[in-house]
Amino acid sequence: MDTVTKKPSVGLFVTCLIDLFRPSAAFATLRLLEMAGCAVSVPDTQTCCGQPAYNAGDRKSAEKIAKTVIETFEAFDYVVAPSGSCIGMLRCHYPEIVKTNKAWRERAENLAKKSFELTEFLVDAVKLEMKIPQPARRIAMHDSCSALRELGVQRQPRQLLPLTEIENSDRCCGFGGLFSVKYGDISGQMADKKAAAIQASGAEVVTSCDFGCLMNIEGRLKRLGSDIKVRHIAELLAEILDAP
């Protein structure tokens, strides 16, 4: 095939939470990547990025998992995930996790360079130029901490969709993986503050680049009896683009 027209190859990293709880966000991601002109594969040796182990101090397991992920995805032009925190692992932490071995560190750094969170991939890497119709509902945006502070993703989702700002959008929703169970009461209060800010924004839908945050936010909103819908940004984008 002619290299000029060759489609960029993308390895889709589904992430463990989306795999289990919200497959539709992964299908939506797939659809968006294809619309953006990518040749997408879903390697079947993937499971999880290793964040639970890494964050809990289990360095050995984290390292083993990091190496498997590197092996799984390094041959693609890009690896894309609908998650800021998993891409944060690949981009910011893998090089650190394997740093004592030079060869592995180089492989990790190579992978880091081509790892993208979905919205930043669409906006910055493939420069998606697609007219996105105005959504019918008011959508509030929650910036996930990893997307915002590890990857610097803030402009990209807003460039793709008109989004309503909520107060303290950059404040953590309290998820934090195992934190949400181990320190459930602190986490619950943080989720409550986030839910209150979302309710105050008057939005009918809330979205984010991370499903972990959304699970947490949705859990609290449901408990409060709110009917605000909680959707991953990939789902919203695919829905709007697919609408007749």
Binding site: D44, P52, G57, R59, S61, R149, V181, G184, G188
Partner: protein, 464 residues
């Protein structure tokens, strides 16, 4: 101060249920961050100053021995004394000995976190010496018999109402028997009472925000001017602080000063900044006859040359806790020791041991807000991570959590087995959440899977 960090969980629970505290924290949550944001936005070179500050502190720490010597020489040349203390106990005993030698009965005190760290008030009282806190926040806490809950606003967990009650109770015997409800009236009352104490005190003890090696100066910053009265009225001034406060030159100090107040309270500068370099000179009109600097190590030098050395850059501005959502939820007391919030979570394990303080670096979502605002760019989350690694390695992490993680990692490394597990989980979670997520379900509904996992559906479609 005796650490109570091991009880973080239950202390946090109590804090979350304490309505008065929650009200105080609500006020706090919006105040400082917004003021800092404005101050930073108004200073285009703020980022450049942060970079410069990191270089200054890293350089100082790399040559700390040299600067400590230089500082000591200058102080001694000026007629003062420097005391190096390896432990909190040594520091306590040194201060008490100086006070005893002066025959002190009362001492006035400016705010000093190192003073809290070495439990100075208790030591003075045990020696029959009455310490009087002169920082308004510390004064309130002394009446309430509570430790500080924040490093720059020690009493910000107290509401005005509580302060009114406290003052009425403690000031009535002194002739102030009217309950004051306005902030200004409360301050005026405290000032009136404290005023006499400054002149009656035999020794004045302050902390220091910086030590400047080139001139042998201690820099003391306050908003109330209490530090100046504390250090100039009595015959003896003791500075109690820790070794990492050192900077080489006055010029270096000003770089850090420009960051300090902006990061802390959003002020361009605190109201009073005083440099003291030794006791009263021959032609000085006033000032103390004796000048002592008591320098605590307290476990800090052990951090030099390690990956946690960055912690010693800290200028104790409090920005990390002002922006921390966990601190914002539980306040400072739950952390159970002198330094709360992110800096405490990163530093306390080094100073009081990981066994005592393991919850502190655990109780973080790694949201990174602290690191983003820290004026000296301490990688706080990375240091939490270091402690978590240590806890895991040394089996301090509870057995159940360790086993769950190991089991999960075992699955994560075996994709085919993992798919089967995911199928089972998807089926099980549709029915009910697992029993061990009570922490989650107390406040939130547990998510239900949509149906079969993505990979299961993908495989069925033939993987294309």
């Amino acid at each position: 101060m005796r650490p109570k960090s091991h009880a973080f969980r239950s202390a946090a629970k109590d804090a979350l249920a304490d309505e008065t505290l929650q009200d105080a924290l609500k006020l706090f949550a919006t105040g400082f961050p917004e003021k800092r944001r404005k101050a930073v936005a108004a200073l285009p070179e703020f980022e450049a100053l942060r970079e410069a500050a990191v270089l200054i502190k890293d350089h100082t720490l790399a040559h700390l021995d040299r600067y400590l010597e230089q500082f000591t020489d200058r102080v001694e040349e000026a007629g003062g004394h420097v005391h190096f203390c390896r432990t909190a106990r040594e520091a306590r005993e040194t201060v008490v000995a100086i006070c005893r030698k002066q025959g002190a009965r009362t001492v006035t005190k400016g705010k000093s976190m190192v003073g809290e760290e070495i439990a100075l008030n208790e030591a003075l009282e045990a020696a029959g010496i009455t310490p009087i806190e002169t920082d308004l926040g510390e004064y309130i806490l002394q009446l309430a018999k509570e430790p500080p809950s924040h490093i720059i606003g020690p009493a910000l967990h107290k509401t005005k109402d509580q302060v009114s009650d406290l003052f009425l109770e403690h000031h009535t015997p002194l002739g102030f028997d009217e309950r004051q409800e306005e902030g200004e009236a409360l301050v005026a009352e405290a000032r009136q009472i404290l005023r006499e104490k400054y002149f009656a005190a035999d020794v004045g003890i302050t902390g220091a925000n910086f030590l400047v090696a080139e001139g042998g100066s201690a820099v003391i910053v306050t908003n109330e001017g209490n530090g100046d009265l504390t250090m100039t009225c009595p015959n003896t001034h003791i500075v109690i602080t820790s070794i990492e406060k050192m900077v080489p030159t006055l010029a270096d100090m000003t770089v850090l000063m420009r960051l300090l107040a902006r990061s802390a309270t959003g002020q361009t500068m605190s109201v009073y900044t005083t440099l003291v370099s030794g006791p009263k000179r021959k032609d000085d009109l006033d000032g103390p006859e004796n000048f002592h600097v008591v320098l605590l190590d307290g476990g800090r030098s052990a951090l030099l040359g390690t990956e946690q050395q960055d912690l010693l850059r800290c200028i104790k501005c409090g920005a990390c806790m002002n922006h921390c959502p966990v601190y914002g939820a539980v306040g400072g007391h739950a952390y159970g020791w002198v330094y709360p919030g992110p800096i405490g979570a990163a530093l306390n394990p080094a100073l009081i041991g990981l066994k005592e303080s393991r919850h502190l670096p655990e109780a973080s979502t790694f949201c990174g807000a602290c690191e983003a605002v820290c004026p000296v760019k301490i990688p706080l989350p990375m240091i939490f991570r270091h402690w978590r690694n240590q806890a895991f390695e040394k089996n301090i992490t509870p057995f159940f959590i360790r086993m769950t993680l190991k089991l999960w990692a075992f699955l994560a490394l075996r994709p085919r087995l993992y798919r089967r597990f995911a199928a089972f989980a998807a089926w099980g979670l549709k029915k009910s959440p697992p029993p061990f997520v009570k922490g989650w379900t107390d406040a939130r509904d547990f998510p239900k899977p949509e149906g079969r996992s993505f990979h299961a559906q993908w495989q069925k479609r033939g993987g294309s």
